[in-house]
């Protein structure tokens, strides 16, 4: 590692957890996550990908709780390609086939501090109705070739998706040497602890409670 006085990279540490999800129609879901980041980023410690346990809803609560910890540290030289967390939720359908229940992505918060993000989830739609039916029957829903697709904008115009539910993730981010490198991510005010999709979040959270 370089000396702290003269760094050439900055570090971003993400701790947090995939708290849970809200999929009103589905149960017994599990979640996979991975990070998508640019060329100038590299994870130094921690898991880059993970898969949670299968969770089912209880009678009292309709929330699915995973509480799956995230702990990753990235190093980078360039804020371009800031890491994004990509989550994809899977679960069995009526026939017990494992199908995808949602894809979603969010940037890791820039500002240090605690953040909660509610990620709206969606799945690709079948091209036509018959396919929808056969897909349902055979348990072969359309899936993205790579879940990381949802973290990029390129080529998305060719797909149609359906919204599914929400996944809540909490982050505790820390950065090191960002300011030294000349990047000021601004003060971490309490107001910064806001959901990325604030338009959704209030509604959803109230719904969730």
């Amino acid at each position: 590692m370089e000396t702290s006085g003269n760094p050439s990279v900055f570090l971003l540490t993400v701790n947090g957890q995939i708290e849970g999800a809200n999929f009103p129609d589905y149960d017994n879901l599990y979640c996979k996550y991975c990070y998508v980041y640019g060329h100038d980023w590299a994870p130094t410690t921690g898991l880059e990908e993970g898969i949670t346990q299968i969770t089912s809803k209880s009678i009292q609560s309709h929330r699915l709780i995973w509480n799956f910890p995230l702990e990753t540290t990235f190093k980078s030289t360039n804020p371009s390609g800031w890491p994004q967390l990509v989550v994809s939720v899977y679960g069995p359908d009526v026939f017990g086939n494992d199908v995808v229940r949602g894809y979603g992505a969010t940037h890791i918060p820039f500002t240090p501090g605690q953040h909660t993000r509610t990620i709206p989830m969606f799945v690709p739609e079948p091209t036509w109705r018959l396919q929808k039916f056969t897909g349902w029957l055979l348990g072969r829903r359309p899936e993205y070739t790579d879940p990381k697709v949802v973290a990029q904008g390129e080529g998305r115009e060719v797909t149609r998706v359906q919204s599914q539910g929400f996944v809540t993730v909490s982050f505790h981010t820390m950065t090191k040497d960002m300011k030294k490198m000349g990047y000021d991510t601004g003060p971490s005010t309490p107001s910064a602890v806001q959901s990325a999709t604030s338009g959704w979040s209030t509604e959803v959270q109230s719904y969730a409670k």
Partner: protein, 1740 residues
């Protein structure tokens, strides 16, 4: 008693009704349900309070006490009220009629007034009842006690009630309100009564009650009609809500209940049965009372009761009832009150406007009113009605009484040109004809050798130099000097034009003429015409005089300012004590004759004065005439006024006296009469003052003219002065001069915004002039659009753009030589400031001592240059014809669109726009037209400059993060942008450092080198200048194609993003169902389709190459070694015995890929079977050649000899240097570093001989594109393992035996990785590439099997392989991009259809109809086929044997090196080059070979077709089919071999389609293999033609040239190449054998060399065993193993690889010797055939 009984009856009923209604909840609204809860809240409070109070005491006791106290209090207060009510009840039925009149509304309002009386609160009872019902059973035992107690009470009440009744009767009339109220209440009662009726009627037989009941019923019936029951019920109950009353209400209810009880008790005594009936209810009430009175007995119960009440939730009281029916009319009425339905009647305008306003129509007043959008009248009316209802509804209406509306936004006419459908209606003559764009001559810029200079145009740009009129480095003196120079220039030019002189002459002439005119005709009386002429003349004279005066003034001021500036210069020079400029001003004095001068001067003045007098006189006359006229008018008016006034005066006597003085008169009239406008009395004009005029003329003359007698001053500016040398100057000035000397200037010439050349850089001279004097001849291909000269200033190494000068493109008539030099001014607004004497630019500067009068000077100057068209050899100007100039006229489309009317170019023509505007009668108020109107207004005012540009992103500069130059300068930005552009070097570059300083310049080295290499042709690597050129050219094509791919890569399809199952057909569904029943582990497993892996998920080591070596056939066997030639017969005798003992051959297979080498076990015999799977890892390697060399060097050096060790350690040092360099190529190899260090330290571990893996960064990606571009090949070599026993000589008799293993190369198969990748698996028998001669081996087999025999005679070694990649990679998809094409659209569509149909019916058969040519255009395939001439010498070689010529031609074609397109173009993009391109490039894949071969065959008069099919191992490929007498033959164009149609070993596996110049036939036969295919294309059931009767051949011309021209090959060059190759190979072999000395058997070398030409002559056929024998004879004592290798020549590298793969160098026997011979045979057009004879000799 009657009344009391009535009361009782009523009360009972009422109570019952209440009870029923509350318990059953039959009749009530929802609102009622809410009532109890509200009530309970009220009730709760006191209880809670009580509880709180009695906290410390016994709660029950306290409660009891308080309740009792309350009760008593209530009794007192309410007794009276309730009695009043009772008396009301007692009234007779007459009152019912009054009640009828009471409407519900009225009733409610009244009730609100005295709610205390009116309310019949159900709550108390309800609560009590409900409570009691639960406790009734428990309280029954108290009955007896209660009765006794109540009896006493009742007595008292009865007497009281009677007395009160009487009182009430009297009071009843005084209280109408209460009476009404009472009636109201009674209504309610009746209602309840009626409903409860069936129950109560049967029970109570009391006649009184019956009577009253009948009456009530009647009333109820009537009332029920009018009064909405729900409403009543609502009112009835809602009043419990009255604020302030709750406790009272409670009390009332209780009171009443008690009273009722009493009444009932009373009755009980009379009729016992009634009591029984009502026992339950009474018991409840009793209970209550009991609790109250006898609380001691059950305090806890009481308590519980209260608690229980508190705990009750509203739900307990909610009951479900039927929906209530509301009469339709009522509903309508109610709706009417609530709802508003706007009418659709037209609203009168008066309502819509404010009062007393008349509608005002703006349109009539001439203001612009837009057209209103169309709305239906009804809708508008509805809207208006609705708006009017709203508050402030009027504001929605405009002055015209209509709703304010924006103008209709819909345009009347479509702005797009209409699209007519082509079918039908249109006149066929008018039909649009689509034409393909014509291919420009210059579009195909890559065609090699297409650059003939004919028809090129030449533009000569002569840049002679530039002069600065201001430069930041000017000193103050320079500023002044340049001003002086400018003034002087101006002076000179004025002098040259001599305007003043001209004007003076003209003036004199005019004067003379005028004088003459007056003189000659003056006397004869002036005619009208003459008068006219004279006045015209005098006017002319006046104008001329004025002009002359201004000119003279200018001259004078110019002269003055020259002198002034010169004085300033002089004073400045004196002040600063040095001179910077060489300027000197001389004033030449020219003395004049004073007298003459004076006379002239006076005469001039006189003449002028006279003229002016005349003029002013004339003016006076006209003015006077005007005055007179005005005076007349005034007088007339005056008279009228007077007349008027007189009349008035008569009326007003005794008024002020008329003084007849006008002024006074006027004043008077003004004072008392309303002011009347009238002409003011005109003043008579002044007479011109002649004296003052003369004065003025004289003044003017002295100002603008030389004084008489004053000498004429002629300034002369010379640059003869000396400049003070630098030593004498102050420091600041020296600094400035130094700065000047450091600067140099050059000019870039940009043609069409591309830099074409630049001048030499010339240093700036002290006088700020730069002489360049360079002429550039620009050969141009594109139309000239702009010629731009950019002036750059260089300071040290940095240069900055100073200014740009746009030079107009010259007319074609302007040619070099005749064009004059022109000066173009330029300036720059850059701000420059210096701390030395330089004044800078854009910096305020003052010459005044006080700093006032500041000037700001900008860098400016003049560039003199000349642009003209060059002149060709015959004096023809090399200018393009005018028609080629861009800019065409547009046809007008209509009146509405300005642009289409006047044409785009006309937009700048204001006249035309104005014309159009008036013609189309534009409404100037229409906002749509404002811009045009504005423009016209500005235009008519005179000055407008239509911009000759437009901007797309005019704010771009503001948004730019940094300037482009900065981005270019910053290494980091450059790196980032290059990565973003996906430049190959940086495509996957990771971790661009954050700081500039961390990026070393080396990062760009590769990139820059590549950029540079494009121009430089490196012959060193290619050994052949032609091939080097071709390689460069190929590189260029590749780059352009790659760029195209990078673009297309970013277009996604759904399938790229989403995995979606295809809809299964019924069949598949069935199979799926069938599969369910399938056994899990079948006995005969079948290959399943493996899951495909997308490449991006892969990392190093994930990909493996699986090679299954199954078996081989027909391997040559060893020949018995005979030491002497003569013994050969002898050994033959021993033959049978030898066969038994001797191993025939022990072959094994060695597979090498990326220098990883794996081998199978050794098998025995000529037809071995291995059945082994070899796994080779696949890595993306990047060979760093020197590294490999060093590492291979290191290893032996340490172990073996000291000399080498020294060498190695020094190499290691170099190597370490690479490591330690921060950004060296090997930075990633840190782990190796310590290995090296330890090696240097002498440690004995670690073997380094693997190739070094390159840095991961740039090439470590496994994307499809990068995998496709893997050029490596898999070498499958078959070796014979030979064991030699050496060592123990007979003399020593030791027991140890040394066995030495040698491997002898027998043959090889080469499979490019790209082929494996694109096909994902390769399965089949491969023909092993065997050398023509294999020394020491023979193809003759001892086996007598017929099959073997047949095969051996056929000659060929086969190996059966199965190759695949694990995991299965998704092969690159074909590019989806639709290339543009020059083919007819119909043809393209047809071909698309054809291919689609073909793919549907036979998906595994390739079908090609269109291909992409080198310029990226789609071309129909038949255009490629055309008979073309092979080199003449082939035809001449065998004039009598056409068969020989055929094979020779095939050989020639096969000698052109192959280069798969995938490798070069990193994508499955099949580019087809034409034959001449192919021969120029000398590289191409199978298709090009096949096309060329086919074309040759056609020329040779054969019937030939192109076969599009699949083959092993190439995959989809092209072969050639010929038809001869003996049958059909299939030619492999890449190897030159031909096969009979029935040959089972033909590599062609499927025949997809046949192509010749006329048609394409698609194979629709069952079995596509050539064995079973019938090649008779006329059979329609076997071959489906593309062009058929329905779609005939449109006569496509060929893309091939008419004739191929061949260059003769330089034999000397071939010989030279031969030597070089030999030298390189020898070096390489020695290099590969670093541990062993390599000895060359020179004798053998020369012998082998002699064989090679023979082999070439025999075209690789096994010509004879003879030469082997010959060799054997020559080298008797050696055991020889060797073979000739034959290759087409492309580069040196494949030759080295081929030699390396044979492994000859791996023989480590100590006494081995090598022999190597190279022969290069030249064919026409630089096609070279390379033979390498390799042999190892072991002395036996």
């Amino acid at each position: 008693m009657a009344s009391s009984s009535e009361i009782r009856e009523k009360l009972r009923k009422k109570r019952r009704g209440l009870q029923d209604s509350l318990v059953k909840n039959k009749n009530d609204d929802d609102a009622q349900a809410l009532v109890p809860s509200a009530k309970f809240k009220v009730d709760k409070q006191p209880t809670a309070m009580k509880k709180a109070e009695g906290n410390d005491e016994d709660p029950g006791e306290t409660l009891r006490r308080t309740l009792r106290a309350q009760r008593q209090r209530r009794k007192k207060t309410l007794l009276e009220q309730s009695l009043v009510q009772e008396s009301h009840d007692a009234e007779d039925a007459e009152d019912v009629s009054i009640a009828q009149r009471c409407s519900a509304n009225e009733g409610s309002s009244h009730r609100a007034d005295d709610s205390v009386i009116s309310t019949r609160p159900p709550t108390g009872s309800q609560r009590d009842l409900s409570v009691r019902s639960e406790h009734s059973s428990s309280s029954k035992h108290l009955d007896t006690f209660v009765t006794k107690h109540l009896q006493e009470k009742l007595k008292a009440a009865r007497s009281k009630g009677e007395s009160l009744q009487q009182q009430e009767a009297a009071a009843a009339f005084t209280k109408p309100v209460s009476r009404l109220q009472r009636l109201k209440n009674r209504d309610a009662v009746t209602r309840f009564d009626r409903e409860v009726d069936p129950v109560s009627a049967g029970r109570h037989e009391d006649p009184l009650s019956l009577r009253s009941r009948v009456k009530f019923r009647e009333a109820a019936r009537r009332v029920g009609k009018d009064l909405p029951t729900a409403e009543e019920a609502y009112n009835f109950f809602t009043f419990n809500h009255e604020p302030a009353q709750p406790s009272q209400l409670d009390r009332i209810s209780r009171k009443r209940q008690k009273r009722r009880e009493k009444v009932e008790e009373d009755r009980d005594e009379d009729g016992q049965e009634e009591a029984e009936v009502e026992e339950d209810a009474e018991a409840e009430e009793d209970n209550q009372d009991q609790n109250e009175y006898q609380s001691e007995e059950a305090p806890l119960v009481r308590n519980e009761d209260d608690l229980f009440i508190i705990d009750h939730s509203p739900q307990d009281f909610v009951e479900v009832r039927k929906a209530e029916y509301v009469a339709y009319r009522k509903r309508i009425q109610r709706d009417r009150e609530l709802l508003f339905t706007p009418s659709f009647q037209t609203v009168p305008t008066s309502i819509k406007l404010p009062e007393n306003m008349k509608p005002r129509f703006l349109e009539d007043e001439g203001l612009y009113v837009g057209e209103r959008p169309p709305i239906s009248l009804t809708n508008e009316n509805i809207l208006e009605n609705r708006i009017l209802k709203m508050a402030e509804g009027n504001k929605w209406f405009g002055d015209d009484g209509k709703i304010i509306a924006l103008p209709d936004p819909i345009k009347e006419s479509s702005t797009r040109p209409p699209l007519f459908h082509m079918e039908g209606e249109l006149d066929p003559a008018l039909q649009t004809v689509h034409r393909k764009p014509l291919k420009s001559k210059y579009a195909n810029m890559y065609i090699a050798g297409a650059a003939d200079p004919e028809g090129d145009y030449q533009l000569d740009v002569d840049v002679s130099g530039l002069i600065f009129s201001h430069h930041p480095l000017f000193s103050r003196e320079h500023v002044l000097a340049s001003r002086l120079a400018q003034l002087y220039d101006q002076y000179l030019s004025r002098q040259h034009n001599n305007l003043t002189g001209h004007l003076t002459d003209k003036l004199n002439g005019l004067r003379n003429a005028l004088r003459n005119m007056v003189k000659t005709h003056g006397e004869q009386g002036s005619s009208e015409a003459l008068q006219q002429r004279i006045s015209e003349y005098s006017l002319e004279v006046r104008n001329t005089r004025q002009l002359r005066d201004t000119e003279q003034e200018k001259d004078r001021t110019l002269l003055k300012s020259i002198i002034k500036v010169w004085k300033e210069v002089k004073s400045l020079r004196e002040f600063q004590k040095f001179t910077n400029t060489p300027f000197k001003l001389y004033l030449r004095r020219e003395n004049v004759d004073r007298v003459l001068d004076e006379r002239e001067y006076e005469g001039e003045i006189l003449a002028e004065v006279l003229e002016m007098e005349a003029e002013s006189e004339e003016e006076y006359q006209t003015k006077l005439a005007e005055y007179k006229k005005q005076l007349e008018d005034w007088k007339l008016w005056k008279k009228k006024q007077k007349a008027k006034r007189k009349k008035k005066k008569k009326k007003k006597k005794g008024q002020a006296q008329d003084d007849t003085e006008e002024e006074e008169d006027q004043d008077g009239s003004e004072s008392d009469e309303p002011f009347e406008e009238g002409p003011v009395k005109p003043k008579p004009p002044d007479r011109p003052d002649v004296d003052s005029m003369e004065q003025w003329v004289r003044e003017k003359a002295s100002r603008i003219r030389r004084k008489p007698g004053e000498p004429i001053l002629i300034p002369e500016l010379s640059a003869s002065g000396s400049i003070t040398s630098s030593e004498l100057c102050p420091r600041a000035e020296i600094a400035r001069r130094e700065d000047v000397s450091r600067r140099s200037l050059f000019i870039k010439i940009l043609y069409n915004y591309k830099e074409v050349s630049r001048t030499d850089s010339r240093s700036l001279s002290t006088d700020f002039r730069v002489h360049l004097g360079q002429i550039f001849n620009l050969k141009i291909l594109n139309c000239p659009q702009s010629i731009n000269l950019q002036v750059f200033e260089e300071i040290g190494s940095s240069c900055s753009l100073l200014a740009q000068v746009f030079v107009p493109v010259p007319d074609p008539s302007v040619v070099t030589g005749s064009a004059p030099m022109e000066e173009f001014e330029f300036s720059s607004n850059q701000r420059v400031m210096f701390d030395h004497e330089g004044v800078g630019s854009d910096v305020p500067l003052s010459f005044e001592p006080d700093g006032s009068d500041k000037l700001t000077l900008l860098t400016s100057g003049k560039l003199s240059c000349c642009v003209s068209w060059g002149i060709g050899e015959e004096g023809v100007p090399l200018a393009p014809p005018v028609s080629q100039q861009p800019g065409a006229t547009h046809s007008g489309r209509g009146h509405l669109d300005a642009v289409s009317y006047i044409g785009a170019s006309g937009l700048y023509d204001m006249k035309k726009i104005g014309e159009w505007a008036t013609q189309s009668r534009l409404d100037p108020n229409d906002p749509k037209n404002t811009s045009i109107m504005q423009l016209l207004k500005v235009a008519s005012s005179g000055e407008v400059t239509a911009p000759d540009y437009f901007r797309l992103e005019h704010l771009q500069e503001e948004f730019n993060f940094v300037t482009d130059e900065e981005i270019e300068r910053s290494k980091r930005f450059r790196l980032l942008s290059l990565r973003n552009q996906e430049a190959p070097e940086f495509r996957n570059y990771k971790f661009v450092p954050l700081l500039e300083r961390e990026i070393s310049d080396k990062v760009f080295q590769d990139y820059e080198k590549r950029l540079k290499d494009r121009e430089i042709i490196d012959t060193r690597e290619h050994l052949d200048p032609h091939r080097a050129l071709v390689a460069k050219y190929l590189q260029k094509i590749r780059e352009s194609v790659i760029n195209r791919f990078i673009l297309t890569k970013h277009y996604y399809q759904l399938s790229d993003l989403v995995i979606e199952e295809e809809i299964p057909s019924i069949g598949i569904l069935g199979i799926n169902l069938f599969k369910l029943a399938e056994s899990k582990r079948p006995l005969k497993p079948q290959r399943k389709e493996r899951k495909k892996v997308t490449a991006q998920n892969l990392s190093d080591g994930d990909i493996k190459l699986l090679i299954n070596v199954i078996r081989a056939h027909n391997i040559p066997i060893r020949k018995p070694q005979s030491n002497k030639p003569g013994q050969s017969s002898q050994s033959a005798i021993q033959g049978s015995d030898w066969y038994l003992n001797q191993v025939q051959v022990r072959p094994f297979v060695e597979v090498s890929f990326q220098r990883t080498v794996l081998q199978t076990t050794t098998a025995d015999g000529p037809n071995p079977s291995w059945n082994e799977e070899l796994q080779l890892p696949f890595r993306r390697l990047r060979y760093i050649e020197p590294t490999v060399a060093v590492l291979t060097c290191c290893k032996p050096a340490r172990r073996y000899n000291a000399r080498c060790s020294v060498l190695a350690s020094s190499l290691v040092d170099i190597f370490l240097g690479w490591f330690t360099a921060p950004d060296g190529p090997l930075n990633k190899l840190q782990p190796l570093k310590h290995l090296l260090l330890s090696r240097r330290a002498g440690s004995q571990d670690a073997v380094l001989h693997k190739p070094v893996e390159g840095p991961q960064a740039p090439n470590g990606d496994y994307s499809t594109a990068s995998l496709q571009s893997v050029k490596e090949e898999v070498f499958i070599n078959i070796f014979d393992e030979v064991l030699y026993e050496t060592g123990p000589s007979d003399k020593e008799r030791t027991t140890s035996i040394h066995t030495q293993i040698e491997k002898h190369w027998l043959g090889s198969v080469k499979i490019p990785f790209s082929t494996i990748y694109s096909q994902s698996k390769i399965d089949g028998a491969f023909k092993v590439n065997t050398p023509a001669v294999l020394l020491g081996y023979s193809r003759e087999h001892g086996s007598n099997s017929v099959y073997d025999h047949w095969r051996s005679t056929h000659g060929g070694m086969f190996i059966r392989l199965f190759i695949t990649i694990e995991p299965q990679l998704v092969p690159g998809e074909s590019v989806r991009e639709k290339f543009d094409s020059q083919e007819d659209e119909r043809l393209l569509q047809a071909s698309e259809r054809f291919v689609k149909d073909a793919a549907q019916s036979y998906p595994d058969r390739p079908c090609i109809t269109t291909v992409t040519d080198l310029s990226g255009k789609t071309v129909f395939i038949t255009r490629y086929i055309r008979p073309l001439n092979p080199p003449q010498e082939f035809l001449d070689a065998f004039p009598n044997n056409p068969q020989e010529a055929t094979t020779l031609v095939a050989r020639f074609v096969s000698l052109i090196p192959s280069l798969p397109d995938q490798v070069s173009f990193s994508g499955t993009c099949d580019l087809w080059s034409t034959c001449d391109q192919f021969l120029t490039l000398l590289a191409g894949d199978e298709e090009e070979h096949a096309v060329l071969l086919c074309n040759y065959f056609l020329f040779l008069g054969k019937e030939a077709w192109l076969i599009i099919g699949t083959a092993i191992p190439e995959g989809p490929t092209a072969y050639v089919l010929t038809h001869e007498q003996s049958g059909y033959f299939i030619w492999n164009p890449s190897s030159g071999q031909f096969y009979d149609k029935d040959d089972t070993f033909c590599p062609l596996q499927t025949v997809g389609c046949l192509v010749n110049s006329d048609n394409v036939w698609y194979n629709i036969q069952e079995n596509p293999s050539p064995l079973s295919t019938h090649f008779d294309i006329t059979k329609a059931n076997m071959w489906k033609p593309f062009f058929s009767r329905s779609f005939s051949h449109p006569g496509l011309s060929s893309v091939q040239p008419e004739e191929l021209i061949y260059r003769h090959t330089d034999r000397a060059a071939a010989a030279e190449l031969q030597d070089r190759v030999e030298k390189i190979l020898k070096e390489k072999i020695m290099e590969w054998r670093p541990r062993h000395p390599t000895r060359w058997n020179r004798y053998c070398n020369s012998t082998l060399k002699q064989f090679l030409p023979k082999l070439e002559l025999g075209r690789g056929q096994d010509v004879a065993e003879g030469h082997r024998l010959e060799l054997q004879n020559l080298l008797g004592d050696y055991r020889i193993a060797g073979f000739p290798l034959h290759l087409p020549f492309s580069e040196i590298r494949p030759i080295i690889e081929a030699v390396h793969s044979t492994g000859v160098h791996n023989i480590h026997s100590s006494n081995v010797e090598f022999a190597l011979a190279v022969y290069v045979h030249p064919y026409p057009n630089n096609v070279l055939s390379v033979w390498v004879y390799l042999a190892s000799l072991v002395r036996t």
